[in-house]
Amino acid sequence: MSYAIALRKRFGALQFQEYALALVVIALFVAGAILKPDTFPTWDNVRNMLTQASIVGVLAVGMTFVIATSGIDLSVGSMVAAAGVFAGTMAEPSGGTFIFIVAAIAFAALLGAVNATAITFGRVVPFIATLAMLSIARGLALIFNDKLPVGLLNLNGGSFGDPSPFSLLWFGTGKIIGIPVSVWIFLGIVIAGWVVLNRTRYGRHVVAVGGNREAARIAGVPVRRVIFSVYVLSGLLAGIATVLLCARLGSASPVSGELYELDAIGAVVIGGTSLAGGRATMVGTFLGVLTFALIFSLMTQLDLSTEIQQVTKGAIVLGAVLLQRPEVRY
């Protein structure tokens, strides 16, 4: 047995992939530091990257749970837009940050529950159910305020540059010990996601349902309830992502969040969570989000166009999936 195989046996294929991806993240960072030594390896840039990553990162945590059940949620980007405009129209006149946050999260979770109902009770395949929701939610976002964005600067509570704590804009631009609030929230959700996935019965059930639905059922896992829950969870996290996005922009736009679902899915997949289910890693998802953020930042600083960024992103997803193919076929 070679050392590499022994290592894999010891740590399992999953951790192996996590280590590999960690190396990619480090390599990208080093590459950036070499190519742009003045601007790339700076605290400002790191903070920027993490802030950028936080919104898709929150979505990716929910997506990890969905994909772990061998499902998919294509609607998260549209849900962000719909929840933002909905919550904006609810909260803007009265200026209540609390109302905005509750409305955004509740509305996105409700849309997630619609997905969940269609999938578990209507037996619609997740791809189609959430594809329909992608369209429905985007439509709702445009209807709610006559295709116009909702300004949210009322919800500031201070000046734009220095928002008072717990005002809406504070969630987008405020800092705690030098680190943006949105990054704290993202990290908190990643850690909570890791704990739920790896250290609770629920998390184990989620992965079991994706790995072998029939075997999970025979072992007493309430399969339907588990599947229902992950789409609600995905919606709920889309609501949190909505808050972070709107807080940063100071407005809720009906055309925001486009293609966020693809970034989230891409990050989850390059992280090593299997689209076929049965294998999920929150650490991998986190590293996947960082990888995308680094690539984005690096290419922007190198003045490469967004088209090239898209091609690169796609190639990385494809490459990661090719690497994940199982070595043993049953």
């Binding site: 399992g12 019965r201 075997a215 999970a216 025979i218 007493g220 049965g278």
Partner: protein, 514 residues
């Protein structure tokens, strides 16, 4: 008809199999089988489950490659593992699960893979015409070749399947349990078709577990037991007793531990379970300390009965109580919470998550035990390791992936799950299928120990010998109903087989074989 007719036979030998051997890793499926089919005869192939009938057919039809031996058609060897060659030489097979495409029309199904063409285009007119002619030849002229297959009843589908075989100019037609999906009237129609074919000189290989059918339609019988020919081409009117004796084959004895003694209170009660079409009103009870066997042929509804009891499949009627608690239908999670455990028929696709570690596989049904706020993964791993060790699982390393274990050890992992769960009634569906002899003996020992500890164990098996060997009580199922309730210590494999195969087990027959 040419060639010298022999006793019970009709024409010249078309297909001849000599000394056929097929070994899979660890299993000898065929250990030297002789078999021949003549023109215009119905040659019945008989044998218990696992005797090697399916393997024989697969070799003859070119699906698998024999390890040794000869297959001759008209005295010429047939190329091995070449389905097209087998069809080309006129050997056609109709499988139990008809390999037809529901979305296509009858005519398209018949000519699937060898469609008549005019130039590059399908010649639909000719296809329909020839399909009609073939169906008429079978006496099924009422089937419209333009209908989609999905519109046909099982019997008509079977006719389409036979017509497809004939479209290859079949000279030998192998039918694998053709009557299993038919009701009594349809069986008559099938016999009509078989008689038409034999009158045209086609040799028919007829596989069935129903001895009465064999006597009615067959000319000769070949009996397989444990992968060898127990009787080669004897007359079809051989007595039932003799056929059953031939099917039983060799005996292995020291495999079984002593039966558990001391039967306690009723744990599981099933009343009038109906899960149509497989289970048609079954009632029974399981007591603590019992190893209750359920025997019967494949397809008699045993697995479906277990699944309906667990709530995995819906049931039309029926009530299940476990230790006085009613188990709601369609809620396997509730059944398991109440103390039921199931080791399913197919370990790989239903029992285990093959990519998961043994720890996670074993603890899946009982994660609550390790949840103190969060999952205590160390305690989980330690408890699983102890459980695996107590069952002598090899390896007992809880970090290994379930897919790396042998069949017998995978079964132990499934058992470990339910032992950890401390279930009260354990349902085992074919627990020794694909398991080697030493592991079998260990599983028997574990099952017996569990019963002695006061569990109720239900053991479904196609190996009648194992039911007679370890069970305290044996029920026999046939066509979705219970037909016998026997004392495990007194019953024999032959008695079980007689109940399993005979449509109306009259008292005289039971006397005859007991």
């Amino acid at each position: 008809m040419n060639g010298a007719p022999t006793a019970g036979g009709k024409g010249a030998t078309v297909l001849e199999v000599r000394g056929l051997v097929k070994t899979y890793p660890g299993v000898e499926a065929l250990r030297g089988v002789d078999f021949n089919v003549r023109e215009g005869e119905v040659h019945c192939l008989l044998g218990a489950n696992g005797a090697g009938k399916s393997t024989l057919i697969k070799c003859v039809s070119g699906v698998v490659e024999p390890t040794a031996g000869e297959i001759l058609v008209d005295g010429e060897p047939l190329p091995e593992r070449d389905t097209a060659a087998a069809l080309g030489r006129g050997i056609a097979t109709i499988y139990q699960e008809l390999d037809l495409v529901e979305e296509l029309s009858v005519a398209q199904n018949i000519f699937l893979g060898h469609e008549p063409r005019r130039g590059p285009l399908l010649d639909l007119g000719r296809m329909r015409g020839e399909a009609s002619a073939l169906l008429t030849r079978l006496g099924h002229e009422k089937i419209d070749p333009r209908l989609p297959l999905a519109a046909l009843r099982p019997a008509a589908r079977q006719a389409v399947s036979i017509a497809r075989a004939l479209s290859y100019d079949a000279r030998v037609l192998i039918m694998d349990e053709p009557s299993a999906i038919l009701d009594a009237g349809e069986v008559e129609t099938l016999f009509g078709v078989v008689r038409r074919l034999t009158a045209e000189g086609v040799g028919v290989v007829y596989i069935s577990h129903r001895l009465d059918e064999i006597r009615r339609i067959g000319d000769r019988v070949t009996v397989l037991a444990d992968g060898a020919t127990a009787a080669d081409g004897i007359a079809a009117d051989t007595s039932t007793d003799e056929l059953v004796r031939l099917m039983v084959g060799r005996k292995v004895d020291r495999l079984y531990p002593d039966r558990p003694t001391g039967v306690g209170e009723v744990l599981l009660e099933a009343r009038d379970i109906k899960a149509l079409p497989a289970v048609r009103g079954v009632s029974f009870e399981v007591r603590a300390g019992e190893v209750l066997g359920i025997g019967g042929l494949v397809g008699s509804g045993r697995s479906e009965l277990l699944r309906a009891i667990c709530g995995l499949d819906p049931r039309e009627t029926g009530e299940v109580t476990l230790a006085g608690k009613r188990l709601p239908p369609n809620r396997p999670d509730r059944a398991i919470a109440a103390g039921l455990g199931l080791a399913p028929e197919d370990r790989k696709s239903q029992g285990l998550l093959l990519d998961w570690s043994l720890t996670k596989n074993v603890s899946l049904a009982d994660l609550g035990r390790f949840t103190h706020g969060l999952l205590d993964v160390r305690g989980e791993r330690a408890a699983v390791r102890d459980q695996l060790r107590s069952l002598n699982t090899v390896p007992d390393d809880p970090d290994r992936r379930a897919g790396e274990l042998s069949g017998g050890n995978q079964q132990k992992v499934v058992l470990a799950r339910w032992l950890l769960r401390e279930c009260r009634v354990l349902l085992l569906d074919e627990p020794t299928r694909g398991v080697d002899i030493p592991s079998k003996a260990e599983i028997y020992r574990i099952v017996t120990e569990l019963a002695e500890r006061g569990l109720g164990v239900v053991l479904v098996s196609s190996e009648l010998e194992e039911l007679a060997g370890i069970c305290t009580r044996v029920l026999v199922m046939r066509e979705g109903e219970l037909v016998a309730d026997l004392d495990g210590a007194k019953t024999t494999e032959r008695e079980l087989l007689a109940y399993a195969v005979v449509p109306t087990a009259g008292p005289d027959l039971i006397e005859e074989v007991a």
